[in-house]
């Protein structure tokens, strides 16, 4: 299991567009990927799950990645966060 903590940096929050690219990226990996915020966990491969949290700028969350390609997945998502300015 690979875990890491992030904070939303995009002005618009985790809305449709940032959420779309996040879900698209996460779906490329085999591992189970979960996003935890305020004790609520959602599947990062689920657009509705991700968006239903309604994360705004400044919100902190943890990613939990579990599976064969967990390190690769966490690294991939972290790079996406950085290049799209979504979170850090």
């Amino acid at each position: 299991m690979a875990n890491k903590e992030f904070t939303i940096t995009t002005d618009v929050g985790l809305h449709a567009r940032p959420a779309t690219v996040l879900v698209q990226k996460a779906s490329q990996y085999k591992s189970d990927i979960e996003l935890e915020h305020n004790d609520k966990k959602v599947n990062v491969k689920s657009i509705m799950g991700v968006m239903s949290l309604g994360l705004a700028k400044g919100a902190a969350f943890q990613l939990h990645v579990n599976g064969d390609d967990e390190d690769e997945a966490l690294q991939g998502i972290e790079e996406l966060f950085k290049s799209e300015g979504i979170a850090e």
């Binding site: 618009v12 449709a16 879900v23 657009i47």
Partner: protein, 573 residues
């Protein structure tokens, strides 16, 4: 059987094609208990797959024909279709509860729709609509009732609909959509204006089109006379082939006037401008030889967005139009929201009489943040061309002074920030409320120009809702009451050395042009496609004669009298 219908001509030209009924299918269903859940899951997966393919096709088309940005909304829709949580929950429910796929789909999407609708963020609330949209698409495949989708049309087509929404008209691809027919609306309704800007023939207010015309039937439309021929005979088709040829000839003649001045026989020059809604109209504007933009309706910037357009977005939009016009005048109207124009992301109170309520500049003055953002964007864009700013729905001098005050404040702020702003921006008002027309002499001392908005001026003068078909007979642009108001405004502006334009539909009407010319109108702004015919008309008239005709018209008693008077001019030619 060939059949003939009649409606209101909304956009000129002739077209023939297959009728496409743009009607939402009935997607109601009953909750059923099923015997073979595995088969039901399979049926659901197949519907999902079809919906996915369809969305992918639309997405690719939009990306190719419009841009990547507009296509991204469909990416989000596609992800909803692939959502493992949602799909998993639906499949589980079919298996465990033995209910039909339709019921499981609606129940599970409902819970997500509720979550989104309860969020306090306007943008997220709108995502509920996305889920509903996707659900509708899956349902249509489960029930085998295809959704209409005009972007998928691949042959010459005439759309037949109750009415067309802005998102419908945005999807019109002129390669295949040759024209449209609607049951409601008049010459000034949204769909009619869009048809003229797309330059496809259209007939509105037909009332019985959806009921009479069958999907797939051959339809011929005459957008000039408002005639519709369902399953036309060979004779009719031949006749229209000939008319089309004649019409093409006329168009070719008009095209020669593209770079000629709009000047009368006795050398009185006027300005013929175009009404636009966005930069996308600029191709037409330039093609039809507009001498100005007489009205840039900025509300489409607000209506096409999911949220308030930012200062930067607005700045880019205004700048691109100013640059394309290369220093020719561009009159930009500040936001005209309210009345019949609503925004999904802006909760405005429901009003008993929206046209007499909180709209346009009234709304702007009560929401100064929104207004200031637009004013800043306009001021920043001003250095890229010949910008004139216009406030809509001004009823009193105080309103004008308050709006202008905000403009000056933002100008000061920008200059203090070191941002360049043009020094010679004219600031004017729309004249669409009788009180302003009556007090035009006082206004003329303070404003730089007037632009008469005839659609609203007519409805407020006659106290007749222009959306209400029962009183549509009171929409009388040529009525002496209107002509007298127009004259008061023009005279008041000239007395102070200012100018008056007109940006309502009336400015491009062949019967109105001679009268307006005679009344001394300086600028005529209209749909781009009306400019060249109007120029041809102006170049054949004498200002001094039209002054006499206009003075006579002011003394008449009815629109019919005025029409008869104008007819005598054409007969004398």
């Amino acid at each position: 059987m060939s059949e003939q219908l009649k409606g209101i001509s909304a956009s000129n030209g002739y077209a023939i094609g297959r009728a496409y009924e743009l009607v939402e299918p009935d997607l109601s269903f009953e909750t059923l208990t099923i015997n073979k859940p595995e088969a039901e899951v399979k049926r659901f997966d197949q519907a999902l797959e079809k919906a996915k393919n369809e969305l992918q096709l639309i997405r690719d088309k939009v990306a190719k024909e419009q841009d990547e940005e507009n296509a991204k909304i469909f990416d989000a829709h596609l992800l909803v279709l692939e959502d493992p949580e949602l799909v998993g929950a639906i499949e589980n429910q079919i298996n465990n509860k033995s209910i039909n796929a339709e019921a499981a789909l609606v129940e599970n999407t409902d819970s997500f729709i509720t979550i989104f609708e309860q969020m306090d963020n306007e943008y997220m609330r709108e995502r509920a609509a996305d889920i509903k949209d996707v659900r509708k698409r899956i349902l249509s495949h489960l029930l085998e009732k295809p959704l209409p989708d005009i972007s998928l049309v691949q042959e010459p087509t005439i759309i037949v609909a109750e009415d067309l929404t802005p998102s419908d008209t945005a999807q019109i691809n002129k390669e295949f959509i040759k024209g449209f027919i609607t049951d409601v609306g008049g010459r000034t309704s949204h769909s009619a204006i869009m048809a003229r800007s797309l330059e496809i023939p259209a007939i509105v207010g037909v009332q019985t089109a959806v009921a009479t015309i069958e999907h797939g039937e051959e339809v011929l439309i005459d957008g000039i006379e408002g005639d519709i021929f369902v399953q036309p005979s060979e004779d009719t088709k031949q006749k229209y082939k000939y008319l089309q040829k004649e019409y093409d000839k006329k168009l070719a003649e008009w095209a020669l006037l593209k770079n000629e001045p709009s000047i009368t026989v006795d050398e009185h020059q006027v300005e013929l401008g175009a009404n636009i809604g966005s930069y996308q109209d600029m191709d037409l504007v330039l093609k039809h030889g507009a001498e100005a933009i007489g009205l840039y309706r900025t509300e489409f910037l607000y209506m096409e967005n999911n949220d308030f357009p930012t200062e930067e977005e607005q700045f880019e939009a205004y700048k691109s139009v100013l640059e394309a016009m290369e220093n020719k005048p561009v009159v930009i109207r500040t936001l005209d929201i309210g009345g019949d124009k609503k925004l999904d992301y802006w909760d405005l109170p429901d009003e008993m009489n929206p046209f007499l309520g909180l709209r346009a500049v009234r709304l702007a003055l009560q929401n100064k943040d929104v207004f200031r953002t637009q004013l800043r964007a306009l001021l920043r864009a001003s250095v890229y061309g010949n910008l004139k700013i216009m406030f809509p729905m001004i009823a009193t001098l105080e309103e004008f002074r308050e709006a202008e005050g905000l403009l000056l404040e933002e100008k000061e702020n920008l200059l203090n920030e070191g941002v360049e702003v043009a020094t010679d921006i004219e600031v004017g008002i729309m004249v669409e409320i009788p009180s302003t027309a009556i007090l035009a002499e006082q206004f003329a001392k303070e404003v730089d120009f007037f632009s008469i908005g005839t659609n609203d001026l007519i409805q407020y003068t006659f106290a007749a809702d222009r959306m209400n078909q029962n009183v549509s007979y009171l929409y009388q642009p040529l009525h002496p009451a209107i002509l007298n108001l127009v004259k008061m405004v023009i005279d008041a502006s000239h007395k102070e050395g200012k100018w008056t334009g007109m940006c309502g539909e009336m400015a491009g009407e062949p019967t109105a042009v001679p009268l307006l010319l005679g009344l001394g109108l300086d600028e005529f702004s209209m749909s781009p496609s009306s400019i060249l015919p109007a120029r041809s008309q102006v170049r054949n008239l004498k200002k001094i004669e039209m002054e006499k005709v206009a003075n006579q018209a002011l003394q008449l008693q009815s629109s019919e009298d005025v029409k008869r008077l104008v007819d005598t001019i054409s007969e004398n030619k």
